[in-house]
Structures are given as C-alpha cells and as structure tokens.
C-alpha cells in the first residue's frame, strides 16, 4: 500500500531542495478542487491503513439488542441488522476493498506490462516466431476480453472458492489485458524513436532495451490507467461481495455491507446501504481524480503556472462597442485599425498589436512575416473566426464601411462566404472528411443565394468546369480524401469565387503543394480575381510569391506591422531590420530571380 502512494508522499514531504521547490510549484499549480481531491485521497489512504483502529465500536460483534437503530447520538450512522455500528464498519471496511484492489492492480500491471513490452517489441519484428507468438497472444486476448468481466471473475472465484485471496487473483486476471494492450501500443510507438534504436545499437540486449529504455517511458500512461483500474477493481470487488461471491461477512467490506442492507432499504431503513455506497463512490472518485492530476503532472512539458491561469477564463464578452463607421476612401474594401488580439485566458502578450491595414478594390495586398509573426491570426481575426483560445481585445475591422466586430452572428454569416471569403492553407484539412465536395458546394451556394438543390449543383459543376477541372460531376461526388492536395485547393478556389466576392482572405493558399502545382494554383487564383474584380489579402512567408503577384505588401513582425508599402519599394529597399532579415533569407534561397523580375 505504501508503495502505491509513494510518488505523491515524496512530492509533499520533499527530501531535497529542488524537490521542495518543485513540490511547491505543483501545489501552487493545483486548483482548489484538485487540492480537495488530494486531501480526500490522503484520507482514503489513511483509512485503508488505520481505519479499523479508529472504529468506536467492535466491527464484527453482533448486538441483537441494537438491531437496525436509526442514526442517532450513540450510533452516528445507525446500526445494521446484526446491531453492529455502521460507522465502525464503514471505517474498517475500506481496508479490505482498497487493499484487494491495489494489490490486484499491482499484479495486473506486473504481468500485463511485462507481456505488453514483449508483444510491442517483437510484433512485426524480423524474428518470425516471436512475431507470431505475440500476434497469436493478442488475438487470444481479443477473445478473452469478449467474455463478460463480472461473470468471468465470478467463475474464477467459484473455481477456487470465495475468500479475499481468490477475489484478488480474479480481479487481477480480468484486468491484466488492459495493461498489456496499453503498454504494447506505447512500446510500438516508442521503439521507432531514435533513443530506442540508439540503445540497441550501442550493444544493449533486447531485454535491456525493453525494461531499461522502453518501459520507463511508458510509465506515465500506465499510471493514469492504474488510477482508473484501481477504481474499477474496487467496484468489482464490492460487486462480487454484493452477490456473495467475494469477501464474505463478517469481514467488514463495503459491497457485502450494501448487500446486507438491501432488503431493509426498500422498507425505508436507508442508513445501512446509503453510507457504504457513498464511501465507495468517494474512494473510486478520489482515485480517478488522483490519476488525472498525476497524469497532468507526469506529462512532459507540463507547466503548472499555465494550469493555474487556465482556471480564470476571461470571457470574450467585453468587446468594445462598435465605433461609428467612418467614411474612408470610396474604393476601400477593408480597413483594419488598431486591431489588438490577445489570448483569451490569462492575458499575456498580445498576439496582434495595434495592426492597421487597408485594402482597395481589386488590389492584392501581401502580408509577409516569419513563422509565428501572427499572419494566420490576422487572417482569422479579419473574418472574426478566432475560436475560443484568442479574443479580439480592441480595434475596428471595417468591411465596406461596416464594422464586422459589432455584427451579430446572423449578419456576419450573410457577409462571410459571400462578400468576404476565406481561402486557407492545406485545403484538405479545411474540407470535412465526411462531407462530399458537392454537398459542401451546394450548401455554400444555397446559403447565400436561395435556389433549388439541382440548380445549385449545376452551378457548382459549371464553376468547377470554368476553372479547368474536367469531369466536374465526378469531383462533386468525391470525398476530400479522394482528391489530391492541388485538386482540393482548386476546389477551395472555386468555392471562394462562386459568389463573386469583394475580398478573398488567403492564408498560405499554396502551402503543402509542390512547386509546379503552386504556380498553377496561384496563376489561376490571381487571374480569376482580376476577372471578377475581387481584392485579395495574401498572407505568405514566401517573398517570391509576394514579389510576383502583389502590388503592396505589409510586413508583420511579432504581432505588429513594421513596414508597409509598394512591393518594389519594401522588398528592394527595406527600412526595418525584420524586413531586411526576411529579404536576406529569401536571397539565400535563390529567389532573387523572381525579385529581379518584379523590379525592373
């Protein structure tokens, strides 16, 4: 029992200085709720260890004079059918259940993890017979898990006779497959990692690699599962005892306590059943929650401060009121002013800081910047699609004079997808894998111009045809996974142009495509924009694209626009160090040819 709680006690007592600070860090990172759980867990462990000694009355001695007396001053929780104090039995009982569950789980882990390491290590390996052994073992496990757990445990107990030891073995037996599978799948992915191959290469034996290098890395997942399994094992033990196939009276045990009180419950004498059940629930609950807390703590890269911050969500409701539309230039499609975007939780540095932008009719504005500068966030915030992790703190996004941030969802929906459309990176990820292309296009067409399904479908097919996609009908029937990346992006372009929008906001529209396809897609898109007179914002990290296709460019650096102007000016004579770094980096990648083309 002490072994099982070792990690937590060590953290709390803290033998060495670094441990102590870490313990403090973890403690501070816990929410009040988690602290309560921790306390509850301590109480459970304490009860399991010392409970029987706390009992104010004898726990196995019947007193016929006191049968079923309700809760009162003498017997706080009343007495059961034998006249034994319920509170005393309640204090003594957890030891039985918790001990059986902990030892049984330890046994399942020992057997399951050992076999799981072998199964994962040898599966698909070069040694045929070991591979087949693990394969057959796993298929056999499939079948074993098809048998009903509870009945299997009962039969096992029946084979060996009732009694705590046999319950323990039965519980351990039905639970070990869980750990076997878990460790196997962990090892399967771990053995591909360089450290495992390195360990083998420097002359470790298979056994050494398995148990010294692979297994320790699988522990965090196992520990989380342990807490769940312990809870399940406690319920299983109690359930077995409830039907009389587990620990039998007079040993204090929660399940048999409930069984003995069951018939009185119906008559209204509730106390015999109520308290042991609550106790069971509490124990299982604290174990499960401990697992969750431990799991979070063991997770690599865990940051306790981030955890504590995440507890105080700042609602995204305190948006500033929409300002009066101010008259810009009549040709202006979009004007962003003073845009600030912050993380939704816990403040911190703004992701976008006082960004100003404007786009005129038919113009293509490039937005460049190194990865992480905030390009995607800018694109998303223009369409008010920030999600729940970021929030729009201040600033105005005026689309044709109308502030988008002040619009309600319905009004926004009328603009989005019709006048202002997104074109995002990795088209295949933007398309719902379970929605056929045709279904998406028809829904999109009908969302903005009411017509029959058939007409919409015809329009979709025509649109695909007009951007050079042959056999449009087949494409409409396809699911996204049946399209190539380039084809998916072409479909997205078709979608964005179908309503002849005023502005397309594109975020790395050619990322993930190979170079020749990139060119085709961009040429197609820019050509169509010119035809329909759509303006475009083109966010990319590729200066070559900007140099070739854009008129003006804005350079985004750490959430701020540091420079903006005509492409030939900004890229040839950059004034800001960030721009210079970008141009320098692009030169090194031999893009200058395109740069030279763009600057006569």
């Amino acid at each position: 029992m002490n072994r099982a709680i070792a990690p937590q006690t060590r953290i709390n007592s803290g033998e060495s200085a670094p441990r102590k600070t870490r313990a403090r860090l973890v403690w501070n990172g816990l929410s009040t709720f988690q602290r309560i759980i921790l306390a509850g867990f301590m109480v459970t462990v304490f009860l399991a260890a010392f409970g029987p000694m706390l009992a104010p009355f004898p726990t196995t001695l019947a007193d016929p004079m006191q049968r079923l007396s309700p809760p009162g001053a003498k017997h706080l929780f009343g007495t059961d059918e034998n006249g034994i104090d319920v509170l005393s039995r309640l204090l003594a009982a957890p030891r039985t259940d918790v001990t059986i569950a902990l030892v049984a789980t330890a046994l399942s882990v020992a057997v399951g993890a050992a076999l799981g390491v072998f199964a994962g290590y040898f599966e698909g390996g070069t040694r045929r017979w070991l591979h087949w052994a693990s394969e057959i073992g796993l298929r056999f496990l499939d079948i074993l898990q098809a048998f009903p757990v509870f009945i299997l445990a009962m039969v096992l107990v029946a084979i060996r006779g009732t009694g705590p030891m046999n319950v323990l073995f039965a519980v351990a037996f039905v639970n070990f497959p869980v750990f076997l599978r878990l460790v196997r799948s962990e090892v399967l992915s771990l053995r591909e990692r360089p450290f495992a191959e390195a360990a083998l290469a420097i002359g470790n034996s298979d056994l050494g690699v398995c148990f010294r290098h692979l297994l320790p890395n699988a522990w965090p997942v196992v520990i989380v599962q342990v807490s769940v399994t312990v809870g399940f094992a406690i319920l299983l033990t109690a359930g077995l005892s409830f039907v009389g196939a587990g620990v039998s009276p007079p040993t204090p045990e929660l399940g048999s306590m409930i069984a003995s009180g069951a018939k009185f419950m119906i008559l209204g004498q509730w106390w015999v059943v109520m308290f042991p059940g609550l106790m069971l629930g509490l124990i299982v609950f604290t174990f499960a929650m401990m697992g969750e807390i431990l799991g979070r703590f063991l997770e690599p890269g865990h940051s306790s401060t981030a955890q504590s911050r995440a507890r105080s969500p700042v609602t995204a409701r305190n948006r500033p009121k929409a300002m009066e539309p101010k008259a810009g230039s009549p040709n202006e499609v979009l004007s962003v002013s003073g845009l600030v975007v912050k993380p939704a939780f816990g403040g911190g540095r703004p992701v976008l800081d006082r960004v100003d932008l404007h786009v005129e009719q038919g113009e293509i504005l490039g937005i460049v910047g190194p990865p992480g500068a905030g390009k995607s966030v800018l694109v998303r915030s223009i369409m008010v699609l920030l999600g729940d992790k970021l929030h729009h703190a201040e600033g105005r996004i005026a689309f044709r004079g109308e502030d988008l941030t002040g619009l309600d969802e319905r009004a926004l929906r009328r603009i989005l997808g019709r006048d202002l459309v997104p074109l995002l990176a990795n088209a295949k990820e933007q398309l719902n894998p379970l929605v056929r292309i045709g279904e998406l296009m028809v829904a999109h067409i009908r969302a903005h111009s009411p017509c029959s399904r058939r007409v919409a479908r015809q329009r979709a097919a025509d649109m695909l045809g007009s951007i050079g996609i042959t056999d449009a009908e087949r494409r409409l029937r396809a699911y996204p996974h049946e399209l190539s990346g380039g084809m998916a992006q072409r479909v997205c372009i078709a979608i964005s142009l179908i309503h002849r929008p005023a502005l397309i906001v594109a975020d790395e529209p050619t990322a993930g495509l190979d170079v020749t396809v990139q060119r085709q897609v961009l040429d197609l898109m820019i050509g169509l924009c010119e035809e329909t007179g759509a303006a475009q914002i083109l966010a990319t990290r590729d200066l070559g694209i900007v140099a070739q296709y854009c008129r003006r460019v804005a350079v985004l650096h750490e959430g701020r626009i540091v420079e903006t102007g005509l492409v030939e000016k900004v890229l040839v004579a950059p004034s800001h160090p960030a721009t210079r770094a970008l141009v320098e980096a692009a030169r090194l990648q031999s893009v200058p040819t395109t740069l030279a083309e763009a600057t006569p």
């Binding site: 809870g231 039907v243 399940g255 933007q430 929605v435 699911y479 996974h481 049946e482």
Partner: protein, 346 residues
C-alpha cells in the same frame, strides 16, 4: 463491391473467433473442480444418470474427442439441463436473454435520447447560457458516472422513488406480482404487450423498466457521454468547422457536419459498452430482480449449477463478438476513409 468484400472478410473472421470462444468455454468448465457430468446433474442425481451423461459427453475419451462432442451438442442447441430448476438451459435462455436485451435497449435509448444531446450541446463552445449550464452539469456528471456503484445507485433509486415517493413500482420483477406476462413474441414484455394490444400490461412493464434503465444509463452511459463530448469538441475546433463557418454556412449545417465527424468514435464506444452490458448488467438485474441473463448466471454460480454458466459465458462472448461486428460494419458505412483503406488492402 468493396463493401461486400469487406463484409465477407469480416464475417470470415468471425469463424475462428467463435471457435476460440468455444475452446475457452470448454477449458473453463473443465477447470472447475469435479466431474463435469456430476457438476451438470448436481449432487442429488443418481450415479447411473451421471454415468449415462459421461458416456454421452464422451468424458471417458481423450480431450479432443470430448471437445468435439461438446461442439456437436451446442450445435444442436442443447446446452444441457439446470439441475437446480430441472429445466432445459436453452429454454431458460429464451426467457432470460430478452429480459436483458430489453433492459440494455431501454438504457441505451435513454443514453441516446437524453444524454447524447446534452453532451452535444455542452460541447458547443460558443453557446449561450444554456450551453454553459449544460457544461456545468456534464462536468458534474462526468465526475460521478464512473465512481458510483450501479447496484447501490439502483437501491437508492428504489428507496427514493418507491419507498419514499411511491412513484415507481418496487423491485418485484419485469411486471407486477399480479400482472400476467404477455404472450411471447419477441420476449420484450413492452413490445409483446403492445402487439397483444394489452395496454395495462404495457404500462406495468414500462414502469418496471424505468428505474433499472435509468440506473444503467447513468452508470454505463458515462463513457459514451464523455466520448461524444470530447469528439464533438474536437470536431468543433477542427479546421473544417472554422472553414464552414467562414463560408457563412447556416449554423445548423455546421453543427450537423461536425456531429457527423463526432459519430464514429461514439459509435465504437457504444459498441464496447453494449458488448460489456450483457454480462455487465448483472448487478442491476439482481437489484431489480429482472430475471435477466446475468442474474441467471449469478444464481447458477452461487448454486454450483454449471450447465447454465457454461451456456451464459458462451452466449455472452458470442453476443459481444456480434456487437463488435456490427460496430465495424456501421463504421465502414459511415466513414468513407475506412472503405478506401480496405480497398487498398489496408
């Protein structure tokens, strides 16, 4: 075509699975201490009868031959006799199995009509007051669901709704003591009563089903609930949802499409839970005295009546396998990517 090949392959896999299940059951019963013939006939049977059964089960022959005799017997639908009730086990199964299936069906109906909508609503990030209240409730439920023992919860519900309030009938079985079970067509009392047009019996059967079904839904719906919630949350955060919103699609369409993506994992989880429940609802059946399959097995184990136990273990394992098969087929049908993988030969 691909669909047919997939189904055929999946059905073929069932054959070795069933074979192994029969081997395991066979071994399990042979592991019980004592003579199988004596175990089946019980301690009171005359030695002559035991000897007769020994000969029929070929217990004097080598193990493989015993196994073949065992399979032959099951193939004929002969699961032996219960010595305690002195009834044919196969007849008992026909009565008990529908009771359990009715309970599972009712519980799952509650899960899908009440709990899944709540899970979906609580996963909607940009909801109003209602969604936030749902989130609170579902958080609390998520904490409780896995921790409370089902048999205890059943007893508490009986105490509250029968003993205290008198709203529900007590744990007297599938219908009241004075009611007569409807003529057996499907074995589901509620359905049979409706078929017979017997309104009072239908009401009685339904009333006796409500509390156990709620208990089952509350305790075993937990994993389904959490799975629906987490996969819906993932779908709502996914790129395709952002894109669909950005295209200005109606909110209903966006939610519906996200739900489509959340469905497959939830269906797998439902299969796992349903497969577990045939034997897992034992304690609920016992508490409410529903005379289901699990309760039958428990009673048989306690009275050392092994023919029913053997039959139950076999039926439960086969049922679980069939449920998994159905889940695989449904998954195959709703996710086109699985079909694509199958076509490429995995």
């Amino acid at each position: 075509m691909a669909t047919l090949i997939y189904i055929a392959r999946r059905l073929l896999l069932l054959i070795p699975q069933l074979l192994v299940i029969s081997v395991v059951t066979f071994v399990l019963v042979r592991m019980l201490p004592g003579d199988p013939a004596r175990l089946e006939l019980g301690p009171l049977a005359p030695q002559a009868g035991v000897d007769l059964l020994r000969a029929r089960l070929r217990l004097d022959r080598p193990l493989p031959e015993q196994y073949i005799a065992y399979v032959e017997r099951i193939w004929r639908g002969d699961f032996g006799r219960s010595w305690v009730n002195s009834s044919q086990v196969s007849q008992d199964l026909l009565v008990r199995l529908p009771a359990t299936l009715e309970l599972i069906t009712a519980g799952m109906l509650i899960v899908f009509l009440v709990m899944v909508p709540i899970a979906l609503a609580s996963a909607n990030p940009s909801g109003g007051l209602l969604a936030r209240a749902m989130r609170r409730a579902s958080f609390g439920y998520g904490l409780l669901a896995g921790a409370l023992p089902d048999f205890w919860l059943g007893l508490v519900l009986i105490f509250i709704f029968f003993s205290l309030l008198g709203w529900a009938p007590g744990p007297e079985g599938r219908v009241g003591i004075l009611d007569i079970a409807p003529d057996r067509v499907t074995g589901f009392y509620t359905v049979d009563a409706l078929i017979a047009g017997d309104w009072p019996t239908f009401k009685a059967a339904l009333a006796h089903l409500v509390l156990p079904a709620i208990t089952l839904a509350f305790v075993y719906g937990g994993p389904i609930f959490k799975m629906v919630q987490s996969s819906m949350e993932a779908a709502m955060r996914a790129g395709y949802t952002t894109y669909a919103t950005g295209l200005g699609l109606p909110r209903r369409t966006v939610l519906l499409w996200a739900t489509r993506n959340a469905a497959p994992p939830a269906i797998v989880m439902t299969g796992v839970v349903a497969g577990f429940l045939l034997g897992g609802a034992v304690l609920i059946e016992t508490v409410f005295n529903l005379n289901g399959l699990g309760q039958y097995a428990v009673q048989s184990i306690t009275t050392a009546d092994y023919a029913p136990v053997q039959a139950f273990v076999l039926v439960a394992a086969v049922f679980t396998m069939l449920v998994y098969l159905i889940v695989d087929l449904i998954y195959f049908m709703i996710d086109p990517r699985v079909a694509a993988r199958a076509k490429r030969g995995r």
